[in-house]
Symmetry: C2
């Protein structure tokens, strides 16, 4: 059963007539209503409930705790829970900070935490157990409203209504106060996510006048050398202000002793600062704050503030932000029941948060080289979690965000130009590389775009960048890989999975080279792409760690993720990681029957607690049998049945995963959303196909979980999908037609989508 609004029905009728949706219809479709940013905030989704616009630089969101990295000199494991600053089960809010990663497995950010209070001024956050001990406040989910680019909550300890919205570069706060002579707004410049000692490198502040503050904050965290500049404007002049420096004073203070820097002093700097601003308010009086960020300078932040938020109308800013979201969400208009729509559009929302723009209104940004660059002709992006996102997120962008994907690739090529390592990004953020995870998967993103013809960049230069990156012998075992055909685990502890990843990446480079007719490179890399075979042990039928002497490592345990040569996964999952050549893998594993059995076992085995405990980056919910959906290396596996004689198992298992792993509640994500990759998997799988091997133009057919979907393409064309007779039990694809003609294969091509048209699935409760 599904319900649809009249509007949706209206649009649905339009699609049936094969006429692309009119602008009016696109405008009138309110899809923002289905987005719920609270989904995934409980458990390990690592998403935040606050406000942001699509791909925005600012992510303004409540932090329910600011857990220190260390307690009593020891790592505090709780810090990992707070990657996005918010945990649904927490009872207090510390404040609202301006930068958050969405769904990462590590963290940073949480810059410039703001908290409104009344009564006694407190300049420490206090503890969750004793909120009275600091400026934090109790809150209840009953008063919480979470929408795309809008967050609202009542701060119960202060009787203050907090509302947040944003533009791309400005956080817009609106605080409704009670009547009081002692209203405070705290600006905490020490607070941060994953805040270890000495993470705060420096802070610089100028109180320009009675309602404007500019400054910057330098941190050394996951991004090693990072500066965020800001400009903060109040809607109402403060009466007085002050600060406290929590770092130990420098020995030389000299003539600074002329001043009481703690009160009404406009020129502050130090390592650990908190500020406050005092007001008097009437009952229900709103104090608003515009808080602009810049990667470049205070002047840049101020310009961003003036250009993006010239006025003080909170509702207008919110409305504009939600219009931006609606425009992006309308790129795929589905008909489905409400829960499905909530899951789908929340997935769309999560997929359109990262990468984030990293450039000022005036076109300047800070590069990896820490120089300021002036951009010509593109928008610079950062937050590239490529080990995750090359799989489905960037391929999704190639369909419904091709212009942005082109700009993202231009940003990666700028990173390459600025890289003193001469490498494309691995995991880059805020003008920094953090080298997180394995492979050099930027090449897959570039190859996918080139193979699919989305090349608003210099494709040959892009290929050169891929090749130079892939030949960087001193990087993470590449020299060994080149010399031996695999990376021995006695030299590199993740050598086995890295070998598999490099082999796939090399295949992607080869596809790109072939497309560009650079056949020398094609030959070199298509050969390298066969290296996965070197870590396959036919005696056990699994991928297996190999040593420098050529032997396979002893004590093989395909379930263990520890010490077996695989990063964040076990051999059971990684053994299927040959997305570039499933047919050969099947041969290697003994043919289709054995391969099918092996897949069946993966999805049905019982994983003992011991092995679960070892499985990183997911909750128990993120695992189905031994299949780990909550982390990325297995995301393509379910589609591998398409190469066997039982592709219906792809269809039923995809549906099982969709049902099992994505829900509408706060705990609705089975693992970190990984900057949109989990959501992109959901979007593809829901509309019926998936890019098993980015760099290939083909998408493998799965089982559409909606009644229809209309893809509004940037080229003005429309690709419609209809799933006739689809339902919870009707998960099997009986037959398909493309533009009215039978489609007798298990994939569709990129061109078939981009040319526009209609794909009809005829669904059944029985598999063939």
């Amino acid at each position: 059963m599904f319900k649809k609004s009249l509007l949706v029905r209206h649009c649905f009728i339009w699609t049936l007539t094969f006429i692309s949706l009119s602008a009016q219809c696109q405008k009138s479709e309110n899809l923002v209503q289905y987005v719920n940013p609270i989904i995934g905030t409980e458990g390990m989704g690592h998403v935040y409930p606050g406000a942001t616009v699509p791909f925005g630089m600012v992510q303004l969101s409540p932090d329910t705790d600011t857990i220190p990295y260390e307690t009593d000199g020891h790592y505090n494991p709780d810090v990992y829970k707070y990657c996005a600053g918010y945990q649904y089960n927490d009872k207090t809010i510390v404040g609202f900070s301006h930068t958050h990663f969405s769904g990462t497995g590590h963290s940073d950010l949480g810059d410039f935490l703001i908290m409104p209070t009344v009564g006694k001024l407190q300049l420490n956050p206090g503890t969750a157990d004793d909120p009275e001990s600091g400026f934090r406040s109790r809150y209840s989910h009953n008063t919480e409203v979470t929408e795309a680019d809008y967050y609202k909550v009542k701060l119960e300890d202060y009787n203050i209504i907090a509302e947040l919205t944003t533009t791309a570069r400005v956080g817009f706060h609106q605080y409704t106060f009670p009547k009081t002579d002692s209203a405070h707004i705290i600006l905490d410049l020490m607070s941060g996510i994953y805040n270890y000692p000495d993470k705060n490198v420096w802070t610089f502040i100028r109180v320009v006048n009675d309602s404007l503050i500019t400054g910057y904050r330098e941190t050394s965290g996951w991004a090693r050398t990072r500066t965020v500049y800001f400009a903060m404007q109040f809607s109402k002049p403060f009466i007085e202000y002050g600060s406290k420096n929590f770092s130990k004073p420098e020995p030389y203070r000299g003539f600074w002793g002329k001043f009481n820097q703690g009160k009404n002093f406009p020129s502050l700097a130090g390592r650990q600062l908190r500020m406050y601003f005092n007001f008097k308010t009437n009952e229900g009086e709103k104090i608003k704050i515009k808080f602009a960020l810049s990667p470049v300078s205070q002047a840049g932040a101020l310009n961003n503030l003036h250009v993006e938020t010239p006025g003080w109308n909170f509702e207008k800013v919110k409305e504009k932000g939600q219009q931006l979201w609606n425009k992006e969400l309308n790129k795929i208009v589905i008909s489905a029941d409400k829960d499905e729509k909530i899951n789908f559009y929340t997935a769309m929302y999560h997929a359109f948060i990262n990468p984030t723009i990293y450039i000022d209104e005036d076109g300047s940004y800070k590069g990896l080289d820490q120089n300021i660059h002036q951009v010509k002709g593109f928008t610079n992006y950062t937050t590239f979690s490529l080990w995750d996102t090359y799989r489905a997120l960037h391929p999704l962008f190639n369909i419904i965000q091709p212009k942005r994907n082109g700009d993202m690739i231009k940003s990666m090529l700028a990173h390459y130009d600025q890289s003193v390592m001469h490498m494309l990004p691995i995991w880059s953020n805020s003008a920094n590389e953090n080298w997180c995870m394995t492979g050099y998967h930027a090449v897959a993103v570039l190859a996918d775009a080139v193979v699919k013809g989305n090349t608003p960049f210099d494709a040959n230069k892009a290929l050169d960048a891929c090749v130079t990156t892939a030949r960087h012998r001193s990087y993470d075992g590449i020299g060994l890989y080149e010399d031996m055909g695999y990376i021995p685990v006695d030299k590199n502890s993740n050598g086995t999975s890295t070998t598999l990843e490099y082999a796939y990446d090399d295949w992607a480079i080869a596809q790109m080279a072939k497309k560009l007719n650079r056949m020398d490179i094609y030959k070199e890399f298509i050969k390298r792409s066969q290296n996965y075979k070197n870590v396959f042990d036919p005696s056990v039928g699994f991928m297996r760690a190999r040593l420098s002497d050529g032997s396979f490592m002893k004590n093989f345990d395909p379930l263990s993720t520890s010490g077996q040569g695989f990063i964040e996964g076990n051999s059971w999952n990684y053994s299927f990681f040959v997305p570039q050549d499933p047919a050969s893998l099947i041969q290697l594993m003994g043919g289709k029957k054995k391969f099918t059995d092996k897949l069946d076992t993966l999805f049905t085995m019982h994983l003992s607690d011991k092995f679960f405990a070892e499985t990183e980056d997911i909750t128990r919910d993120g695992i189905i049998g031994g299949y780990v959906h909550g982390n990325e290396p297995s995301h393509h596996i379910v589609y591998l049945y398409n190469w066997t004689d039982e592709p219906w198992k792809t269809q039923e298992t995809v549906r099982m995963i969709l049902n099992n792993q994505y829900h509408t509640g706060p705990a609705g994500l089975g693992g970190n959303d990984d900057t949109g990759q989990m959501s992109a998997w959901y979007i593809f799988s829901t509309i019926g196909f998936y890019p098993v091997a980015p760099g290939s133009p083909n998408y493998q057919i799965g089982s559409p979980a909606i009644n229809s979907a209309i893809l509004h393409l940037e080229n003005g064309k429309t690709f419609s999908i209809e799933a006739k007779n689809q339902g919870d039990k009707n998960v099997y694809v009986e037959k398909m037609t493309l533009n009215g003609k039978p489609l007798n294969r298990l994939y569709i091509t990129h061109n078939e989508i981009m040319n526009g048209g209609k794909l009809v699935f005829y669904m059944s409760d029985k598999h063939s």
Copy 2:
């Protein structure tokens, strides 16, 4: 007796014919030969012997020790000796760093220390007692050559000849190595002057290729928020390189573990880094380094490097630097004996080091607001030690460096525009204000330029900036001063001397206002300028600390510098600080006779060791009687005899001070040169007059200590001074003529100088 070279004789003859020197003669006059940067490097002169061009951004000089601010948790008093990095009596050199203050009473800088070594690689400096324990080396003054923009020494432990020269923004090193397979060049990014714990905020490094490194260093020292960017180029590729991070590692290193960051790793960052670069050298092989600085960016530093030092010819760079010096030194061509010339041109050299340019080749600089500014139409300067330099250095510039002085004032006005305090600089450096010392003496610099008609800036805007600064009630007692007419010492411990200084500064503002016909301002500030009377106690005949209740402080001791309300001085010296109104002061002190006696006493008293020990900022040599020449507040005092009936005492005492306080040896300066103020006093006094009250167009006549001096003015005119019959005993001015006509007064005016002409002193061994 004096000797002169044929060249000097040649020029001398020219001057006698009243024809201004031809360009050829100016060119051929080698005055650089008289500069000896070693003067003042022993004791408390706080000057450095290394290389710099006039007003250069780079000061490349040997550091003989890098004393930590603290030893065992306690302040190390030796740190003060190393304000300029070099102490003549030290036996070892730690390395050569690129930034040094010249003659300051506090310090900072010492950025980017470079040391060439051979043999075993050592990455710590070691100790002076045991040079083998680190990379430092023994050296001898026998092998040392110190010239303007050239320094040479043999590093004995390594048999390396080190040579240094500079351009405005680039340090140029030339190291002549022995034959060795293990030549090293250390780049110490931790080392610094006045290096207290946590002074190093951050360091960022990129090894761009096998001979180019760029990066930056952030410090929080005397300049609180300071970043210096650099680009370093070797003349020869290094074979290998490495680094050591001496700061405690951050808890999160994560995937950086993929790398051995210690060796051949091009992307470094941290708080405490040292690097090394390895070479093989043949006997006598020279390795050269170009090391460019920028206040803006690495890209700016690299551009500075390319523009200023396109080639590798060390001699040519040195020659060009010395030509620049020669051009500046030729602005005053004196005839005198060789020692006098050495003292004079070394004083000219020291006077033309500060303020320093603070702007890139492309016209951009970092402002006080930490934003990058693009300059239109002027050169930006920093290093404004205004409590010192308003007295004689800027007045000297108004005569022989008017264009630069105009740019310096434009720089101060830019500082004012960028100041969130809305104040002109007090003591500013490297885009920072450190608030050092008292008064708001920038106004005297601005007033002096306006009154003298050197106004390539908006004079009315300058006046507004002065007024706003002087009305900043929350700054250092100004509110009290405005309300009470003096600053009570129970509210402000330096209140008495600050009252005197404000009163003088206010007079300067009044002169400026009068000149600009802003009579309201004139009236306000001429009234304020009388406030010095409020701290004069007629019962004791001295300036004396006053309390809030109007009473004078008990326990008055005119010799004590401690707890008496005076900064860096005692009442004996400060009681004469009414440069704006000596006639009234004389009345206040009981008339000319009593005043003369008092001055006599000052110059002849014996200061007990107790009081000497209290007297800050000078050595015993810096004191004559109770007169403290080694610090600034008394610099005008000797000229006050001109207001009495015995002006000849000015003449003989000036000569006594000149002889007593300035010598040609390493200990030749009696106190810190104070960024050129001590030297400017010397230059003025040597040519026969002195600006007692900057803001007045008049210069008080003293006693010329040269035979002749020709001032080559920027307006193309020449002002010649001849001192007929001048000699060690002929110190008294019998009569004077100006342009052939008798000059029957004890001052000359600025216009008389700038119009060109000739002033002739007729000297005698008897006073009238």
